[in-house]
């Protein structure tokens, strides 16, 4: 095969696409990943990161079983980027307990393999002791545990591991069309947004893992694919405002909603609205924000005193089951074999991404006559090879344990490579993003090793700018480091700042209130009033959500 010929081209660098490219590469297939933006830049980045035990899907026992097994696998291959959250369901209305008694049984059935206790019923006193913000009128509580993964790191590690196994990863390459199959190869045409050139590769099989865009890609191949797109929005608070995760069905309309501590923040979600909008332009609406606040207020009455920093909204690419409510649509996935060398996914959840990849790679291997077995469930992702002793590293490198613990949660064993860089350059121990926190050495390491192009790409890799200040104080610092490492022009430095402010603003704006008005006044004061960036004569490309009225 020539350099531009592949066994498999995977389109889409989300959780599924990166899982597929990893699996294919590990089985020795010559694989290319094409992602139109950055790894994990769309749907997966707007989820809560829960690798769900399948609790909500009692109606689909085979899915519950699959979810539980996948959780076990994730803890085996990626435990360094996983956190366990205890979760409470405070109950005010007894009928909720009655209606969900079965939930406890089904959850507990597979609890042991995930190494979590069975679901427990608690007294109101015990519930309030665990989470004192709970409404005093509760009559009982339910306790269980779920695992949460850093979805950005998961996708990136899958992509990097695929690359380690010989795959080619191309971000910022948008597929624009296909050429028909000749001699067992079809052409995939794409626009390289970094070079500005149209490029073409030839491949035996194309895997369409583009989530809410799956029907568009299928269409380019001349195939109709039906999807039920469903919008979900989250509100993000400035810190871990609850001791444990809270879930409740006693919401505005009786849907399950949750309040999950996540990394250094707390997520309140989610809404579920059937949508036909362009996923690139979606932002949380005022109705969604108030729906979520009102819903959780029944259980956490003081929620409005907490500081909201932003919102995020994404699209679930559900299986096209119509004429039923959204929460009755299967959370399973389907592999659609279009029989022209194109295979598409619909449906699925984050927790299933590895399973989905295995299923599709099995199919690809069968087609190509490859009989290597899947090993993605046993081979660790980079960084998960060993335990990391933060205390010793803290003493050895003179960096505080909090910084190192946050770095460990992203890096696992890789942390040592970053810390080694500070021996020659002790000034790189400087904390650049103070919210997260992130030190300069890790930023430089990520730029050198993880192919970011923009500050947003660095945000996904490092969580810079995701804290209470939303990048107010670090945007220009990180932009300068990026510009130094990539040897960018002065204009690019300013555009990077503007791009990052634009992306942060997209989420800040819909929920802007209270302290965040002061925070944004400071940001505007810096980048507009002092930096005068609105008057700078640079080539700024409007973002999809900035266009129109």
């Amino acid at each position: 095969m020539s350099d531009s010929e592949f066994d498999v081209v995977v389109i889409g660098g989300g959780s599924t696409g990166t899982a597929v490219v990893r699996d294919c590469a590990m089985r020795g297939l010559k694989t290319l990943l094409l992602e139109r933006d950055d790894i994990a830049s769309a749907s997966v980045g707007t989820c809560a990161g829960m690798i769900s035990s399948g609790l909500k899907y009692q109606g689909e026992p085979e899915i519950m079983k699959m979810c539980s097994t996948e959780v076990v696998y994730f803890n085996r291959i990626a435990r360094h980027i996983i956190m366990k959250n205890p979760i409470l369901v405070p109950i005010r209305d007894f009928s909720v307990v009655a209606a969900n008694r079965q939930m406890a049984d089904t959850y507990s059935e597979y609890a042991e393999e995930r190494d979590v206790p069975s679901m427990m019923f608690l007294t109101p006193e015990a519930t309030l002791e665990i989470e004192p913000m709970t409404h005093p009128d509760i009559i009982a509580g339910v306790y269980y545990e779920e695992f949460f993964i850093d979805p950005f790191r998961l996708c990136l590690l899958q992509a990097l591991d695929a690359r380690n196994h010989g795959a080619t990863i191309k971000s910022y390459c948008e597929v624009t069309g296909f050429e028909p199959m000749t001699n067992g190869f079809q052409g995939v045409i794409f626009y390289n947004r970094i070079t500005g050139l149209i490029e073409k590769v030839r491949t035996k099989i194309v895997v369409n893992a583009t989530g809410p865009w799956a029907h568009k890609i299928a269409n380019m191949g001349g195939i109709e694919l039906d999807l039920r797109l469903n919008k979900g929005a989250h509100i993000i608070f400035d810190r871990r405002i609850v001791n444990v995760g809270i879930t409740t069905k006693e919401s505005v309309d009786g849907r399950w909603i949750y309040l999950f501590p996540h990394e250094n923040t707390t997520l309140l979600g989610t809404t579920a609205l059937d949508t036909w909008e362009d996923p690139d332009t979606l932002v949380a609406s005022y109705d969604e924000i108030e729906y979520l606040l009102k819903s959780i207020e029944f259980i956490i009455p003081s929620i409005r005193e907490a500081r909201i920093i932003r919102t995020m909204a994404g699209v679930r690419p559900l299986v096209a089951d119509w004429n039923i409510p959204e929460d009755e649509v299967t959370r399973g996935y389907r592999v659609v074999n279009h029989d022209n060398g194109l295979i598409s996914f619909v449906g699925g959840k984050l927790v299933m991404c590895r399973h989905m990849a295995e299923a599709v790679t099995d199919l690809v291997c069968k087609k190509l006559g490859n009989d290597v077995v899947c090993k993605t469930h046993e081979t660790p992702l980079p960084g998960n090879e060993n335990d990391v002793d933060i205390e010793t590293l803290s003493r050895e490198y003179g960096i505080n344990m909090h910084i190192l613990e946050r770095m460990r949660a992203r890096r696992g064993t890789e942390i040592v490579k970053i810390l080694e860089m500070t021996k020659e350059n002790p000034e790189w121990k400087t904390t650049i993003c103070t919210c997260e926190p992130v030190i300069e050495a890790e930023i430089r390491y990520a730029i050198r090793e993880e192919f970011p192009q923009t500050l947003n790409d660095l945000r996904r890799r490092l969580r810079i700018g995701t804290g209470p200040c939303q990048g107010t104080s670090c945007t220009h610092k990180v932009a300068a480091i990026l510009s130094e490492e990539l040897d960018l022009e002065g204009d690019d430095f300013l555009v990077d700042i503007l791009d990052f402010r634009a992306e942060r603003w997209k989420g800040i704006r819909p929920s802007m209130r209270g302290e965040q008005l002061a925070q944004e006044e400071l940001a505007q004061g810096m980048y507009s009033c002092v930096g005068n960036l609105e008057q700078s004569d640079v080539d700024y490309d409007m973002k999809p959500w900035e266009e129109g009225n």
């Binding site: 005022y286 402010r501 002092v530 609105e534």
Partner: protein, 457 residues
């Protein structure tokens, strides 16, 4: 416990201290109340008057030109208010507005002379200092430490950007490229720039250096010497004629350090415009505080206004809270200079935008009520653009005496005045007019309050 004074100023930023100092100077017993750090301390320390007309990209060449334009186009702009008073003849409107602003600038320069924030610049032209990003912005006055008169004069000038190792707030590499590209595109000198990163010695650590600790270090006599020696090598290597430093030359001795560096290096040295935490902002804040106290004013720090009493058309007292006490301050007149969202003068949430102490009427820049608007609805889709963010133009509307008015257009109280960023009618970020409006409105509100107090007495 009660406290008595003639004038209580709520808010200790630029507007509050200008008002307080003018009142004290006029023999009025004045108390300034300051809750915490003011937004003035977060500022770059340069005094913007007017840089741009809203949504226009060509900057004004001078505050005079800008004020003349604003006076004609925006009669309700905080700058314009003084011109549309009934005791100003129609032919004198623009002149009155321009003169008030010019007078304020002259006043500021005079009062801040020989302080740590002594100012340089003129009402007759805007200057375009360089920021830590390498961009420039139009402003009226800069602190002397930030001033260079010859940078853009000579074709052969060479500017050296100097960073400090372990200090992340300024990156000379990115800034020097940005600045040079800008110079090339406008076709003006300097045509050559350089950059270097120096270590601050002797210093306890090699990373996480903050502006404050560097400034304090440079405040120690002779601590600049080692830095100068390192810098001299770089200056000679590049053949630099000018040196740009991040704004950290000292909280007290910055000007002395600048002069010392210039003497040792034989080149012009200046500080860039920076971001918070801002040393020039702190110098300005401290200097304003000092001149106020010098004029006999009393400053209550760490005290927050939480309530008030009124009798008929007058506010009689304001209740003030500190961590361990609550006091009532009785005064003849009050000036509200509590700032916008950073200062805490305004608060916005899903129920609307409100003034936090007296619950005064808030309006948008279009003078519609802001008391029920959703803050997010009053923003633009573009984060940073010449249109600004309208939610930062919401605030109080005042009569020509700077008294906040209510729905019927009449003043809310006869002895309550307002100044600074709590006022509506302008967007300080895109206009580049923040501290200028604060100073000018503080000046005007003080004049009105003084007159009121003297009349009552």
């Amino acid at each position: 416990m009660d406290l008595e004074c003639d004038l209580l100023v709520i808010g200790g930023g630029m507007a509050g201290f200008v008002a307080g100092t003018i009142a004290s100077n006029a023999g009025i017993s004045t108390v300034v109340l300051r809750k915490g750090q003011s937004a003035t301390a977060y500022s770059s320390g340069a005094i913007d008057m007017i840089g741009y007309l809203p949504e226009v990209s060509e900057p004004f060449s001078s505050p005079e030109e800008g004020l003349t334009t604003i006076a004609g186009l925006y009669p309700l702009h905080p700058y314009s208010i003084v011109g549309y008073s009934e005791d100003v003849e129609p032919s004198r409107v623009v002149a009155e507005i321009v003169e008030r602003a010019r007078g304020t600038i002259a006043w500021l320069k005079k009062y801040l002379k020989d302080t740590a924030a002594s100012l340089i610049g003129s009402f007759d032209y805007n200057v375009h200092p360089i920021t830590v990003l390498g961009t420039t912005k139009p402003t009226c006055l800069v602190q002397e430490t930030m001033f260079s008169d010859s940078l853009q004069q000579n074709e052969d000038n060479v500017l050296l950007f100097v960073g400090l190792s372990g200090y992340p707030d300024f990156n000379p590499s990115a800034a020097s490229k940005t600045y040079l590209e800008d110079r090339i595109s406008v076709g003006e000198p300097p045509r050559k720039v350089g950059r270097c990163v120096l270590e601050i010695k002797p210093f306890g650590k090699s990373f996480n250096l903050s502006s404050i600790e560097i400034a304090r270090h440079f405040d120690h006599e002779e601590s600049i010497d080692d830095f100068a020696a390192q810098l001299k090598i770089q200056v000679e290597q590049l053949g630099a004629s000018h040196v740009a430093l991040p704004p950290v030359l000292g909280l007290r001795n910055a000007l002395m350090n600048k002069k010392k560096l210039e003497e040792i290096l034989g080149v012009q040295v200046f500080e860039l415009l920076g971001f918070p935490p801002s040393i020039p902002g702190l110098r300005l804040q401290t200097s304003l505080e000092n001149i106020f106290k010098r004029e006999g004013g009393k400053l209550l720090v760490g005290h927050e206004a939480v309530g008030y009493n009124r009798m008929e058309d007058k506010v009689t007292s304001v209740t003030v809270k500190a961590p361990r006490r609550k006091i009532q301050i009785n005064a003849k007149a009050f000036i509200l200079a509590s700032g916008k969202y950073i200062g805490g003068g305004l608060h916005g949430d899903e129920n609307g935008i409100r003034e936090t102490i007296f619950d005064l009427m808030t309006v948008t820049r279009a003078y519609h009520s802001a008391s029920g608007i959703l803050p997010s609805r009053y923003t633009n889709r573009l984060s940073i653009s010449p249109m600004g963010q309208p939610v930062y133009s919401c605030g109080l509307t005042v009569d020509p005496k700077f008294r906040p008015v209510q729905e019927d257009g009449m003043e809310w109280a006869s002895n309550l005045f307002a100044a600074g960023s709590i006022l509506t009618g302008y967007d300080y970020m895109s206009e580049k007019s923040g501290l200028g409006v604060a100073a000018t409105s503080g000046y005007s509100a003080a004049k009105s309050a003084i007159n009121f107090i003297k009349e009552v007495a």
